[in-house]
Amino acid sequence: MRFKVLGMVAALALVVSACESTPESGAGASGSGGGGAGGTSTITPLPAAAPLALKDQFVVDVGDRVFFSFDRFDVEPDQRETLNRQAAWLKKFSSVSVTIEGHADERGTREYNLALGARRANAVKDYLVFQGVDASRIKTVSYGEERPVALGSDESAWSQNRRGVTVVAGGS
């Protein structure tokens, strides 16, 4: 599994570097060769837009996180759609592995929140496995209350911090 992931990352890196080299050589050709067929008008090819890395695609197209109620770790009905999309995407990209991060808000003791984060990460994992994703592709990690995304000691911040985040492997 580890080798697969590394292989995939290496392949992605090759694709990206290939994309980057193309516009450079194009620009160099137009600079030295002058107008070519166009004569007066110079056509400079735009650099090809680098394709989104898989992990970013996942965040943008699928949605990487679900939210939990206070001191709860069951997947709420209104969060299931996100996990259904995650499961479908993971079945499509079957060589990708993920880490699910479990997080808590600050309203709990530190050690309890570590345990709560572990429960939440595992609840997301169980859901994805139930949807047919191979359990061996999924790691979990709890950060407790240590990595809030939203600042502020109010419900709007807390509700964003009580989350399970699915992170597609391949660098940070």
Partner: protein
């Protein structure tokens, strides 16, 4: 780091041990008269007025140490809330020579009940000799006389040892000044700081300091998130949790060598570690498939034993001082509450029944109480209860306040308090505080950065 007895010619091995010798010649017999005492079990104690004179130096260097010693002893005693050092500008008699008996009348006039005098001297081998006497001003009796030899750099420890001797002589209980605190230093949310990264957004680092905040140093560099350090009873080691390589596990840190070692090979996150009272085992939680249970590992044999078997969150375990029982928190009854079980995981009994959630139980070194964090009405509290759950008392309160740790004499608690964070990231500062078991004398402990997760060491042997 040695303190050697003056009456011994041979040099002791350079050990961490501090030998304290009572000098028979300096000790006056305990009079039959009523002595000054402080009953530290009472609620609000009127601090005892005490005069602490600068220790008289035989040479210039020794005189500087003498002044520093008196200053550290004075601030130790003052912070305890049990003593009120008298402003030295009120002193009538100059520090004077130690060998002369004080003019007690001069000290009674300024209402000093106790008097501390001392003398310092640099001896030819380069060491510092410190002696002091504690006097009962009204009965005109000497209460203690002690002498110490030390390498000069070690003068602070001598000041703490003398403070402990004074505290013990007057209260009848062991002191807690010759101790250290390990904690997690962190940057507040709105500050830029070193060592911060995505996985350690507040740059949390282990830090250690003397109980008065001196000799502060960082033990880790902030590249890795670290949490919940706790001292071993033998003091050379700390157990804590680290996210090294993004793998949250319990570690052991050797203070002398700086070596960090992961504890065991567990299939899931290990957290919430504490040493057993004998230092030979570590009790902790492991989360596997989302479920947290309590385990004990024997540090020598590395044998691991599971103590709880429940789908609930079972964590924050703490041994009783005799090692026969374990208190922990669990939500097996529907909400987070305190439970006690025997050291084999049997005879589990719930002990907390008040309104709210109860967490982070820590057994007092005296065995008589359990300190805890309570969450109720959207506030956090630090409190204590007896091991059977009776006699609950709340000692401190804040938006967030957590993680009590006991002084080695079981009379003072340190914890961290954290305010609300504003939307823009300001506020939310986290600092260490201490409070007496009586609920009085709450004070902030100053740290260079924000601070959380304090752990108080035993008395340094």
């Amino acid at each position: 780091m040695t303190i050697e007895p003056m009456n011994s010619g041979r040099s002791f091995p350079r050990t961490f041990l501090a030998a304290v010798f009572l000098l028979a010649a300096l000790v006056a017999g305990r009079g039959a008269e009523a002595e000054i005492t402080i009953d530290i079990t009472r609620g609000k104690v009127e601090p005892l007025p005490i005069a602490i004179t600068d220790f008289v130096g035989a040479q210039g260097v020794a005189a500087r140490y003498g002044r520093d010693l008196a200053r550290v002893i004075g601030s130790n005693l003052e912070r305890s809330g049990l003593f009120r050092p008298i402003d030295r500008r009120a002193f009538i008699q100059s520090a004077g020579a130690l060998n002369t008996v004080p003019r007690f009348g001069d000290w009674r006039v300024i209402n000093a009940q106790a008097l501390v005098q001392g003398r310092t001297e640099m001896v030819p081998d380069g060491r510092l000799r410190v002696e002091f006497r504690l006097w009962d001003v009204f009965s005109e009796q000497q209460m203690i006389g002690l002498a110490y030899f030390t390498v000069p750099d070690n003068w602070r420890r001598v000041a703490h040892i003398i403070s402990d001797a004074i505290y013990k002589r007057i209260t009848g209980e062991d002191g807690y000044f010759d101790t250290r605190i390990v904690y997690v230093a962190e940057h507040s949310k709105d500050s830029k700081g070193v060592g911060r990264n995505r996985l350690n957004p507040f740059g949390k680092r282990l830090a250690i300091m003397d109980q008065d905040g001196e000799n502060h140093r960082f033990l880790t560099d902030g590249s890795t998130l670290v949490l919940t350090p706790r001292f071993s009873p033998t003091l050379q080691e700390i157990t804590y949790m680290s996210y090294y390589r993004n793998n949250p596990r319990v570690y052991i840190f050797n203070i002398d060598t700086g070596r960090q070692e992961v504890l065991g090979d567990f299939p899931g996150m290990t957290f919430a570690p504490r040493f057993s009272p004998d230092g030979k085992r570590i009790i902790m939680s492991m989360a596997k498939d989302g479920n947290s249970e309590i385990y004990v590992m024997d540090l020598r044999t590395r044998v691991v034993r599971q103590l709880t078997y429940h789908s609930a969150i079972d964590t924050s375990p703490s041994f009783s001082p005799d090692g026969s029982q374990v208190v922990f928190n669990s939500d097996r009854g529907g909400s987070q509450q305190l439970y006690v079980m025997d050291s084999r995981g049997k005879s589990v009994q719930r002990i907390s029944f008040g309104r709210g959630r109860y967490a982070t139980p820590v057994w007092s070194p005296r065995g008589d109480l359990i300190a805890f964090t309570k969450l109720a009405n959207k506030r956090f509290f630090i409190g204590v209860m007896k091991p059977d759950g009776s006699g609950e008392r709340l000692l401190a309160e804040d938006f967030k306040i957590e993680g009590p740790t006991w002084s080695p004499n079981g009379r003072v608690l340190i914890y961290y308090r954290k305010g609300k964070t504003n939307k823009d990231g300001t506020g939310g500062t986290s600092k260490l505080w201490s409070v007496d078991l009586t609920g009085h004398n709450e004070r902030q402990i100053s740290t260079p950065l924000d601070a959380s997760d304090p752990a108080w060491s035993p008395l340094i042997p």
